[in-house]
């Protein structure tokens, strides 16, 4: 880090890491996702506000941020330190709502541009907008050190807490102010622990303390600091006095002022402070980014799990349709009745007898407006298949809907959308697909029957008759289990007739290809259903490789250090 080349390596590695972290999104609501979102924001802020600018310009002035709980007297302390009323003090909590930066006029160039805290607007007048940084050049300040008055870390105003977190992450040094009533509060200590893990240089100011309590409290606080690994942090005590014009008597803060001047005036000390904090920050990045990588993995895994849930349910649905449409069980109930009307009393036997019979049937049925048994059979097959597909799709949607709703991440994805049912267009789409399949089967028979179309047998059954027979064969392909004797017999009969007309090799091939066609069409229908869920996941654009990429970036950083 001391030589230019190493610094550039480090800078490149950090910039790469910054890019990776900036790109992260944690869209799925899983356990600890809030921590990950916060963590990635904090790392981004810390890199942009502190590590990168500091690494680019090691000679910039030291930035000392005065932070602490609300009501600890931070503003009064800053006023007293710089010897001028720069920050409003008061009894209303929280008092300070935007950041105020006091520095020597000669150092203005460092802060007026957006080298640090780029996300904050610059202003020179008092403001209560947390998006603004108020700049106050003060001639009596030492060069080489700027003091920033931050809002509280624990008040009810959320914007304050967030701004304080961001400012503290940008500090070369923390001046942590607490009071006799506050020093054991949990929230500020969490911030101090963060400072320890990030290696930030910290000094503690115990403010507003009654003289008779000094010994007791100071000893207790020192013990607590040691326990938390801050035993070597300087500890200043400021007695409780009534401030005049928002400033303490100058004697009260003299030790702190001298300490600050000591740092500002000595370039070596300054560099030491800066390097201490900077190295600490860089060192802390690795473990924190690993946490983000783990969280990214969780996101990817959760997405995969949700996707698996969908895949499983719809694969099952497809299998269900496949099974029930191949084992002959479709040839029962209404379909069976239609089949028997077709075979037993109607078209088929008469077709076997003579073409005249068929013609006569046509004439009579058209005169009576009665549908042909063959048409009825085709329609019954269509209705049966449609019912199968629809129920399978409904069941899958129900299953996935319930599974997603039970999953915190999934329930957010589902939201108010009613995905528990198959889509309303499905029944019509299914009918369409099945009609197309039937057309395809007829087409198949037509093509395979090429050259046989003039044979007496072919003519006896006609294209439609043979098509229906082929459908029956396809729908009872996997045997008669559950198909019942009659249906099985029907299938055998169909098969025999077809083989007699077209040859058994051809029939087997046709059945297989008709079967595959049906499978393909049903799969396509169910894919549409499946996508209603998968699209929601895809919209989130979860990067599967985010975890490994983060780990690689950390590795680069380790190599550069």
């Amino acid at each position: 880090m001391t030589t230019g080349a190493e610094a550039i390596d480090l800078l490149t590695a950090l910039e790469g890491l910054g890019e990776q972290v900036r790109d992260l999104s944690f869209p799925l609501e899983v356990a600890d996702v809030d921590a990950a979102r916060r963590g990635s924001r904090e790392i981004t802020d810390q890199l942009d506000d502190y590590v990168l600018p500091r690494l680019r310009r090691m000679d910039a002035p030291v930035l000392a941020v005065v932070g602490g709980p609300t009501g600890a007297g931070k503003s009064t302390l800053v006023n007293s330190l710089v010897g001028q009323r720069v920050s409003a003090a008061g009894v209303l909590r929280p008092t300070t709502r935007s950041a105020i930066l006091a520095y020597h006029p000669a150092e203005g160039a460092w802060f007026e541009n957006r080298r640090v805290l780029a996300s904050l607007g610059r202003t020179t007048v008092a403001s209560s907008d947390p998006a603004n940084l108020q700049l106050v050049p003060i001639p009596s300040m030492p060069a080489g050190l700027a003091v920033l008055d931050a809002p509280d870390v624990d008040s009810i105003v959320t914007a304050n807490r967030e701004l304080a977190t961001q400012l503290l992450a940008a500090a070369d040094m923390w001046l942590f102010v607490t009071t006799a009533a506050r020093y054991a509060d949990a929230v500020p200590w969490e911030f101090l622990r963060v400072a320890v893990t990030r290696g930030t240089a910290v000094a503690i100011v115990l403010n507003r303390i009654a003289p008779d309590a000094v010994e007791d409290v100071r000893a207790h606080l020192a013990t607590m600091l040691t326990e938390q690994g801050l035993g070597r942090a300087p500890l200043f005590v400021v007695h409780e006095t009534t401030p005049v014009d928002a400033m303490l008597a100058s004697g009260a803060v003299e030790p702190i002022r001298q300490w600050l001047h000591g740092i500002a005036d000595d370039a070596a000390v300054r560099t030491a402070v800066v390097r201490h904090t900077l190295l600490g920050a860089v060192r802390s990045l690795g473990p924190r980014v690993f946490l983000l990588a783990a969280a990214s993995d969780t996101q990817a895994e959760t997405a995969a799990r949700l996707r698996r849930e969908v895949g499983q349910a719809y694969d099952d649905a497809l299998a269900r349709v496949d099974d029930s449409s191949a084992d002959g069980s479709l040839l029962r109930g209404e379909v069976l009745a239609r089949w028997q009307a077709f075979v037993g009393t109607g078209e088929l036997t008469r077709a076997l007898e003579s073409k005249v019979g068929r013609l006569r049937d046509r004439v009579t049925s058209s005169a009576h407006g009665k549908p042909q048994p063959g048409d009825e059979l085709a329609e019954a097959l269509e209705t049966g298949l449609e019912a199968l597909v629809r129920a399978a799709a409904d069941q899958a949607a129900d299953h996935v809907g319930a599974a997603w709703r039970d999953d915190p991440a999934g329930s957010v994805l589902v939201g108010d959308h009613d995905l528990r049912r198959s889509s309303p267009e499905l029944p019509e789409a299914t009918r369409q697909a099945i009609r197309e399949w039937q057309d395809g089967v007829l087409d198949l028979v037509r093509r395979q029957g090429q050259g046989k179309q003039t044979t007496a047998r072919y003519l006896a059954f006609g294209l439609n008759g043979l098509g229906l027979l082929l459908m029956i064969v396809v729908l009872a392909q996997t045997g008669s289990q559950g198909a019942g004797e009659v249906a099985g017999g029907g299938t055998a009969l169909s098969q025999k007739i077809l083989e007699a007309v077209l040859g058994d090799q051809v029939v087997r091939g046709m059945a297989a290809s008709a079967r595959a066609d049906l499978h393909r069409r049903v799969a396509h229908l169910l894919d549409g259903e499946r996508r209603r869920f998968l699209d929601r996941l895809a919209d989130l654009a979860i990067r599967e490789d985010a975890g490994p990429a983060l780990r690689a970036a950390v590795q680069d950083l380790e190599d550069a250090r």
């Binding site: 909590r93 929280p94 624990d154 006799a180 069980s329």
Partner: protein, 547 residues
């Protein structure tokens, strides 16, 4: 009556707490499995605690001093109790255990035990030990540990006791009154408990009067933002004693009225009910009857009613033709198979039922099952579509639980239904006899003619044929017999057709009745039970609000 006292009394509202609790219990029971388990667990614990508190001394009022570390809870406790029980100090956090001080010992022992404050941390003020404290008779004053220090145990103890006390006094100070922890973790969760919440700004002596007024206004604003606009906000100084009289008056008034415990429990129950309210639908008028016709229709189709009815019609026609048709040609009809037999539904259903049930209860037919599933889904959507998701799920579960049963029951219903084709009407036999008679006459006439022709050929006899109105009798028998037979056959065919349509309609309505009873028993009834349960939960919840 002081200002404070008036405000307390002004908000007073008497509600029947045991009735509310009973209603809450009932709604929780009805909501079991139909609402967020976490909410239900919370409701159960609130109801349980309220029941416990009701059985403990109602003569005592538990008042808790709660607040941040260093706000002066212990100093206030000691000042109010006139004791030095709770240690006071500058080291934070000072109080690590809850302390109690009881005025009026009678009946308080079990209450203090229930609160979980050990005896050595409890002071007992027998009678009016301290002057001017007779009005505090019945007070149990608690000094809680802090809720914001680094010591986790303190927070847990506060969280436990906050659930049990009757009246809260949140002690804050000018440094800490705007802390996130106080407002977000505690005050906001007590929304609805304004009647039993007091926010006390201590250490007011550290501010000048102007600043103090500003500070109190700001505190009031924050407390209102927490949803506790009607809570009391007071100021005091435990060190100088300023404002302590107001605190004393307020506490004494609460103790005298003996209403705080009731108010607190009511607020608890109300807040629980408020969180449970979205678990039921107030507007939805779930109604299963709208989808019933459609369900029956779908089930009928699934059970094959149209096919069976058609078969019945054809079977009847076939029989009519067989019985009333012209005997010469009627035997041809019997070549065709009986349509009912093809459906394995013989006419005499009762006799064959047993063997049917034993031998051939059909295996699940996917199409039929699919149709039933879809019909049931639609029914549930129609009936419960506007209910909260968990109820919809419950309704679907209740209707779908019987999926296989529905299918089997449909088959059984079809099998046992008397299709009304096993008994042929008596006049058919008469008709049939007439047909035979007419045919016999024709045959006889024919034979006679034949005999006559043969006889005259052979010249055997010169038998004159009897004539009737100038027509030879045998000729009349033959021609009349054939004509009459054909006429009767046509007539019989017409009558048979009409009868077949009637039989079809009857069979249809009988089958439908059977299917309706299946639908009612296995789908509608469970759904209705679930909807009734929802109604019960809804009514109980609205009753639990005490309105």
């Amino acid at each position: 009556m002081s200002r404070v006292d008036r405000r307390l009394n002004g908000r007073h509202r008497r509600v029947d707490l045991p009735m509310m609790l009973a209603a809450l219990d009932e709604s929780v029971e009805a909501l079991d499995g139909r609402a967020d388990p976490k909410l239900l667990a919370r409701a159960r614990s609130v109801a349980g605690r309220a029941g416990e508190r009701l059985h403990l001394s109602g003569e005592h009022t538990v008042v808790a001093l709660a607040g941040s570390t260093g706000s002066g809870k212990s100093s206030l406790f000691n000042a109010l109790s006139g004791s030095e029980l709770s240690p006071v100090g500058v080291r934070r956090p000072t109080t690590s255990k809850a302390y109690a001080c009881v005025w009026g010992v009678e009946g308080a022992t079990r209450l203090v035990q229930w609160l979980g404050v050990p005896r050595r941390q409890t002071a007992w003020q027998h009678g009016a030990v301290v002057e001017d404290q007779s009005d505090l008779d019945g007070l149990v004053l608690l000094d809680l540990p802090d809720h914001d220090s680094t010591v986790m145990d303190h927070r847990l103890e506060v969280d436990r006791l906050v659930e049990l006390v009757d009246l809260f006094i949140w002690v804050v100070d000018p440094q800490k009154y705007a802390d996130k922890v106080l407002h977000e973790r505690y005050l906001r969760r007590l929304t609805g408990h304004a009647a039993v919440t007091v926010v006390l700004l201590n250490q007011i002596d550290t501010l000048n009067p102007l600043a103090a007024a500003e500070c109190v206004d700001d505190l009031r604003r924050l407390v209102a933002l927490d949803g506790l606009r009607r809570a009391h906000v007071l100021t005091c100084s435990a060190r100088t004693g300023a404002g302590l009289d107001d605190v004393h008056t307020l506490v004494a008034s609460a103790v005298t009225r003996r209403q705080a415990s009731n108010d607190r429990l009511v607020a608890d129950v109300e807040s629980v009910i408020y969180t449970l309210a979205p678990s039921v639908s107030l507007e939805a008028k779930p109604d299963v009857s709208a989808g019933r016709a459609e369900l029956v229709e779908a089930l009928s189709a699934a059970a094959g009613v149209p096919v069976i009815a058609g078969a019945v019609e054809r079977a009847w026609r076939r029989r009519a033709d067989g019985t009333l048709g012209w005997p010469v040609t009627r035997w041809i009809r019997t070549w065709r198979p009986d349509p009912l037999r093809r459906l394995q539904l013989p006419g005499d259903a009762r006799r064959e039922m047993r063997s049917m049930l034993r031998s051939s209860i059909p295996e699940p037919a996917p199409v039929q099952q699919a149709q039933v599933e879809t019909a049931v889904r639609r029914l549930c959507d129609g009936a419960a579509g506007e209910l909260p998701p968990r109820w919809q799920q419950a309704v679907r579960r209740s209707a779908g639980a019987n999926g296989n049963e529905v299918r089997d029951a449909l088959d059984a219903a079809v099998v046992v239904t008397d299709l009304g084709v096993d008994r042929t009407p008596l006049w058919w036999r008469v008709g049939s006899s007439v047909q035979w008679l007419v045919t016999a006459a024709a045959v006889l006439g024919g034979a006679w003619l034949l005999l006559f022709a043969v006889g005259s050929d052979l010249g055997l006899a010169d038998i004159s044929m009897p004539s009737w109105h100038g027509v030879a009798l045998p000729t009349a028998m033959l021609v009349g017999g054939v004509l009459l037979g054909a006429l009767l056959a046509v007539l019989g065919r017409w009558v048979g057709r009409a009868g077949a349509v009637a039989r079809r309609t009857r069979a249809e309505s009988r089958l439908r009745a059977g299917i309706e009873s299946v639908a009612d028993r296995l789908v509608i009834a469970p759904v209705e039970a679930e909807l009734e349960r929802h109604e019960r939960a809804r009514v109980a919840l609205s009753r639990a609000t005490g309105e």
